[in-house]
């Protein structure tokens, strides 16, 4: 299964992305901030990273 790491702080957008990616049988890991994203990237070894711009941390 292809794993996608979604880095985004807006909860509504994350929800929509997670739902539609899961419906297409991707494994999705949402991360609301940079620190979580780095931790998940190390632990889950995603195949694709989708990231919004303008991040604080």
């Amino acid at each position: 299964m292809t794993r996608v790491l979604v880095v985004e702080d807006d909860p509504q957008l994350v929800r929509a992305l997670v739902l539609s990616l899961r419906a297409r049988r991707y494994g999705v890991d949402p991360a609301p901030d940079g620190v979580t994203a780095l931790r998940l990237a190390a632990a889950r070894r995603p195949d694709v990273v989708g990231m919004g711009h303008r991040f604080g941390t």
Binding site: D9, Q12, L13, A16, L19, S20, A23, G52, R54
Partner: protein, 835 residues
Amino acid sequence: MARGKLRIHLGAAPGVGKTYAMLSEGHRRLERGTDCVVAFVEHHDRPRTEVMLHGLEQIPRRELEYRGSTFSEMDVHAVLDRAPAVALVDELAHTNIPGSRNTKRWQDVEELLAAGIDVVSTVNIQHLESLGDVVESITGVRQRETVPDEVVRRADQIELVDMPPQALRRRMAHGNIYKPDKVDAALSNYFRPGNLTALRELALLWVADRVDAYLTEYRSEHRVSRIWGSRERIVVGLTGGPEGRTLIRRAARLAEKGAGGEVLAVHIARSDGLTSASPKELAVQRTLVEDLGGTFHHVIGDDIPSALLDFARGVNATQIVLGVSRRKGWQYVFGPGVGATVARESGPDLDVHLITHGEAGKGRGLPAARGARLGRSRIVCGWLTGVVGPVLLTLLLTHIDADLGLANDMLLFLTLTVAAALFGGLLPALASAAFGSLLLNYYFTPPLHRLTIADSKNLVALVVFFAVAVSVASVVDLAARRTHQAARLRAESEILSFLAGSVLRGETSLEALLERMRETFGMESVALLERENEVAPWTCAGSAGSAGRRPVPRPEDADVDMPVSDHMALALSGRVLPASDRRILAAFAAQAAVVLDRQRLRSEADQAKELAEGNRIRTALLAAVSHDLRTPLAGIKASVSSLRSGDVEWSEEDRAELLAAIEEGADRLDHLVGNLLDMSRLHTGTVTSTIREAGLDEVIPMALSGVPEGSVELDIPETLPMVDVDKGLLERSVANVVENAVKYSPQDTPVLVSASAIADRVEVRVVDRGPGVPDEAKARIFEPFQRHGDSPRGAGVGLGLAVARGFAEAMGGSLTAEDTPGGGLTMVLGLRASR
């Protein structure tokens, strides 16, 4: 039995540490082996105070039932039975519960003192009976618990427990004085820096007054006659002329500089009643002095300087304020003037201020340029000396019949000629020389009563007399003229250097410069006029005038018209200036134009800065709005695309969730656009408010619909007065503030929304326990597009607080930020209570 001693710790406000100071003293006395007990101490749950109670013996309190509640009071019986050497009794102004032994605690304390027990107590300055009105005017709160001044005044020792307002507010912010839920409108109003400063000053002055009283006592006991200036006491000497008002205001300003300055105005009248004072003017000045908080005194005395100094020493004055003399130059022949005499005689204890005023040397202006012409009086004087003098001298010399000899006769005539030159210049001196030589010839050289001269020696003497008289007269005249020119040039150069200096340093405002011009030339009014072009009407760019004098509207109407440039002119009224003064006036005029230019440039620079700031805000808006619009749009887009794609079979649950995400995104967009519209309405000034009476308990719950349930705790008493507000604006304002507070508050701590009334205002306090905002950033959070620190979850464009404040102000309210005691931010929405 000897009466006990009373020692009072006096504080300016709650929380300065009176009780703590009293308890420390208790510990000190105990260590020294004194039998010291706590008769009554209230620690108000302040931990540091509570710790101080350890190790001190506490007399159990007396429990009393009143209207179904239990109260505890000091048990006076128990303290008297225990009979310690020293008793600590907190809050001297406390009112006991009905049914107690005495109505007031200070009466309890009196009993202890009467029983020979020393008492250490505490009291706050606002509880002193005589200060009730003052304190109410400062804080807006009427103190119900008071203690008679006499009780505190009689204390053997008073110690001031002092703390700067900033430090006190810090203690307040740290929650060291009150818990956050205790802080309401009244309390927070009480702890404003202005209030605290005023109360502190009151306390300091009250104590200073006590010190003053001790000082007076000491001085009279020890016959000290020198002045001990413990604070500024300023005596203003008034003549009854209109300049007195200026002097009084000036003295009041001097008095304000030091704490507790006092102004005493004094008018000295001659015992013969011969005075130029106008009773009407004096009455006006009396009112003015009294309005400014000073006192007015009449003193009878023929020697004005010494009467003034006696009065000043009598009242322990530290400064004397006098106007510079209104006398004209020749009047100084009669003496040096009151100001100079007072200054010379005042001695080291008194400072003398000579104040210039609009009436100073009025009408004299610069020393007049005198070519050959002297003043009329001097010319008359010169001719009298030169013509009548020799006649009188001749009569005198022929009458007394004493033969002085021709040489002495000639010397006497020569003296008259020199005097005539001094008074009236060259011409009377020449006349005097000629006339004198004729008289000498006719009456004193043989043959007498003939214009012939027998002895050729006498002829030589007469010719020499005439020559000497003429040369002396011309030298004297020249010297007098040079002296005068020098004085005038000195005055001119002083004025020019003032002008050059003050204008270059840019410290003079146009009005001040014009006023200086008016004073220098002794004019009634001065105006700087300008116009767009030759046909446009003149407008006034700045003016100065003595009271009641309107500036001249057109140069044509002025007594003196000094063109500055094609479209600018100075118009002066009051008198016609001699041509020689116009040179200096031209310099003034040029400087006035420079000052005006400088003022305009400065205001343009300020405007440009404002515009640049506006641009910065607009740029920030664009960046922030594009980000904040895009995020919910992206969510909506993603959800809609997912729903529309045919390749996935959505479960009912997923479908509902995607639809919910779309709705939420749309709501956020709506909210954001609403705030943007409000902001632009506020900026263009098109927000109109319909002020009606409304109840907060009705409006505030409506404002809470946008935040999750349970995130806000409401505390709005039913007894709250109605407020004058626009319901719609208030709802939006409160909603934005609450939304912001919820956003920053920790998840499990609800935001407290409370309301309370103080004087004619009602305050809504929105208290969060979030990270708070440092003082320097408190003003900034109300600017549009500012977010403090990293934005947490769901942060939007920083418009909410800007809109909330704009709306609050649109209906005559206010919105400010304070620290929550113990950490966090408290937003205070001030509203007008209905009448």
